[in-house]
Amino acid sequence: MADGLYKEGIAAERLAPEQYSANFSDLHPPLDRHEALVESDRCYFCYDAPCMQACPTSIDIPMFIRQISTGNPLGSAKTIFDQNILGGMCARVCPTETLCEEVCVREVAEGKPVQIGRLQRYATDTAMERGAQFYERAPDTGRHVAVVGAGPAGLACAHRLAMHGHKVTIYEARPKAGGLNEYGIAAYKAPEGFAQDEVDYVLSIGNIEVQNDQILGRDFSLSDLADRHDAVFLGAGLSGVNALQAEGEDIEGVQNAVDFIAMIRQASDMSKLSVGRRVVVIGGGMTAVDAAVQSKLLGAEQVTICYRRGKDAMNASEFEQDLAASKGVTIRHWLKPARILSGNGKVSGIEMEYTTMRDGRLAGTGETVRIDADQIFKAIGQTFDPIPLNGSGAAVVMEGGRIKVDADGRTSLANVWAGGDCIFGGDDLTVSAVAQGRDAAESIHRALA
């Protein structure tokens, strides 16, 4: 056991060097050829398959699995990429347990779905390893489309536009493309630089230029963009974070979970990352679980997730919750933050108030409990920041704090489309962002025709 484990406060090097690489290795290791063949054999090739219905990008799952089983992994990859050019990342990060695999007829029959996600990874990895390219650009249309944000939505949109022969420029605020694939997804879901490999793979279709460190609202306005391009796609994701609305939120040691997660993803040496000995994460979604699990993997001794409602209301799937539990994270329900406690200007704990449902509404009971902590992560949801959108030109119509779009992804402004986390009515999943980016591209293509 490394001596760093019991260091008080927030500290690095809690674990022995080799523990870090073991902790942050692939969550679901890839299937080898034999495993993939055996697993693919389990698929019944259902008609109008429930798995395909459940996939936001409508991948022809029975077909790609059949192609694996007949020794045609490249054909299989193409079946996947035809619908979802980020099929490689989705194979790693999709909560398949609430999507395709939940409705697999073998889940219904035996409680053991075909491992669709891992098969998808087998096919897409094979194609990417062999450098197989399946798409060519249509002849140049002379049209030029601006995409804001190089996340899953923006990349999927750009790729589809390029296929149709349009020139695309992506304006991206961060130094790297990928969006949350690069800065958000848990490190053990996409290890070994996969996010950047995938970005390169997607961009290799050509005629897509990515301009990094270009921020809408700082470097240019939406009306500039609209003037300079034939169409604009907004895929800026969510850049704001909800506040706890608890006393003491700015004390040292209170942090946004997404920033902590981004830091982990960008680290070249995990042992240099600091984490508290006792960590509390406030929230109940995927971000909360990812922050908690990765705190634990960095060597935190005690990690507690506090969620203000019951287990069933948690946004993190059953699988994610079990994953957290298996890593030693404690999940406590019916607790909301009341006050951050401190000593010497640093966090020393948090006072939580018990909650209950009263007259159909969540209410505090007045009773409180204290949990010791050196570090507290806020993971109670990200928000869309509309300020960069509304410069000199007409304002974009919003709904529920996010951009309002129609079924084709059109916003209230002419020639401006949007998709991914920044639009209203989505489910904040990578795969949905891909579907919306792709479909908006088709709509843009029709409009430019």
Partner: protein, 437 residues
């Protein structure tokens, strides 16, 4: 991208995948769905002569055997030829051919063995604009009792006679469909060839009883307590069909006669194997009856990808490529020596290779080494038979590795000869033509 357009005896189709004459091709509704799904052609469900159509049983017509996970491996049926009115069929054939001019439309026919009966139906079929006909000499049940189908297919002289009539009375290409319910398939193929057939297709279904109900003591499918033999098809019959196709392809008398392969074809790979053995195209029945028409997408894509990967430009580059490598046992090289090799990293230690070898073969695989469960080939005993490879549940875990010329075969204590030598010249062969000196 590989070009998989097919030209089979002058009948063109966008790909070499046709539906075999069977329920999937029994009416316009199904055939149109098949064409929409991408099938290159169909052989329409067998037509009978004018007059009241045949009747089918009204109870179960299928029986089956399954593999793991209830994967359908073999299907058996007691269905007859089309039980729909001839006029209706002809009208639909004409319409579908007109609507889908780029797809192959071949009409299967089975009428009594008289010149007039064949002459009459041929004229009617020709009027539909169909691309060709297939003579059904194969149905093993129901029809042969009426002197048709397999009853004709088992008598080479009848085959030759009927083919001759057909060649005389129609300009359409004639494909003769052969029954496998015969000892030597080359005989009917030669007869069809002698009669002037443009091609043969095979196999039709194999006489079979799939199972017996042990409560009622009746064969299945059971109709009111009784059952009868049916025709067997599906993945289980593929090896039989492959051999029959190869036999015809390499027979000097029929060599070069176009062959349409049928029997258990389920994936692009099955089709490619048949084509390598000399088939010009592939017909499918059970696989679509199990999974629906959509599987053709996988077949088209899989075939193209494989051809691209191997650099085969078109179908001619693969058709018949394996035929020269099919030979008689007596010409196999007896100086070719292999030994099994178990990849210890892949081995899951189930012990099936050991027990198969120990109980039933050559005692050439250990089960225990230094007190540990360990499976390893004993070269001094291994005859290279391949049984262990075939019973091993892990693909690629056991390999047959050829010994290089000059290497020592520890079983025989002889060095491996670099020369080719077969049974015809072997000293143990009493009929050896040249004595090995």
């Amino acid at each position: 991208m590989a070009d998989i357009r097919s030209n089979f005896v002058g009948i063109k189709s966008p790909n070499p995948f046709w539906l075999a004459s069977a329920p999937p091709t029994d009416k316009a509704y199904n055939v149109v769905r098949a064409f929409k799904a991408g099938w290159g052609g169909v052989v329409w469900k067998t037509l009978g002569e004018e007059g009241p159509p045949v009747v089918n049983v009204n109870g179960p017509r299928y029986g089956a055997i399954w593999g793991a996970d209830r994967r359908l491996l073999g299907l058996n049926n007691i269905e007859l030829i089309t039980d729909r009115d001839l006029e209706t069929n002809l009208r639909e054939i004409k319409q579908v051919k007109r609507d889908w001019p780029d797809r192959a439309m071949v009409v299967s026919i089975m009428v009594p063995c008289t010149e007039d009966a064949w002459k009459a139906i041929l004229l009617r079929v020709e009027e539909t604009g169909a691309d060709g006909i297939e003579l059904n000499f194969g149905c093993p049940h129901g029809m042969s009792e009426r002197g048709m189908g397999a009853a004709v297919g088992q008598v080479p002289e009848y085959i030759e006679m009927v083919v001759r009539w057909c060649k005389q009375y129609t300009r359409m290409p004639v494909i003769t469909k052969l029954t496998p319910n015969i000892t030597d398939v080359r005989k009917p193929a030669r007869a069809a060839h002698a009669g002037g057939t443009d091609a043969v297709s095979l196999i039709n279904t194999i006489n079979s009883i799939t199972s017996v109900d042990l409560d009622d003591f009746a064969p299945q499918p059971t109709i009111d307590g009784k059952g009868t033999h049916g025709g067997y098809c599906g993945p289980a019959v593929k090896p039989i069909a492959l051999n029959m196709v190869a036999e015809i392809a390499r027979d000097p008398e029929t060599h070069g006669l176009p062959i349409s392969a049928i029997g258990g074809i389920t994936t692009w790979r099955d089709a490619a194997e048949f084509m390598a053995l000399g088939a010009g195209n592939a017909q499918v029945c059970t696989a679509v009856m199990t999974y629906g028409f959509k599987i053709v997408e996988e077949m088209i894509d899989g075939l193209k990808n494989w051809m691209d990967e191997k650099g085969h430009r078109d179908l001619d580059a693969i058709i018949g490529r394996a035929v020269p490598n099919v030979t008689d046992w007596q010409y196999l090289n007896l100086n070719y020596v292999t030994k099994a090799r178990i990849d210890q990293d892949l081995c899951i230690k189930c012990g099936r290779c050991h027990i198969a070898c120990e109980d039933t073969s050559h005692q050439a695989i250990t089960s225990m080494v230094d007190g540990k469960r360990h499976f390893e080939v004993i070269d001094a005993e291994c005859v290279g038979c391949n049984l262990c490879v075939n019973v091993c549940p892990v693909e690629g875990c056991i390999d047959m590795v050829p010994l290089a010329a000059g290497a020592m075969d520890r079983r025989t204590d002889r060095t491996v000869s670099p020369d080719y030598a077969n049974w015809t010249t072997h000293p143990n062969n009493p009929a050896a033509k040249v004595a090995a000196e």
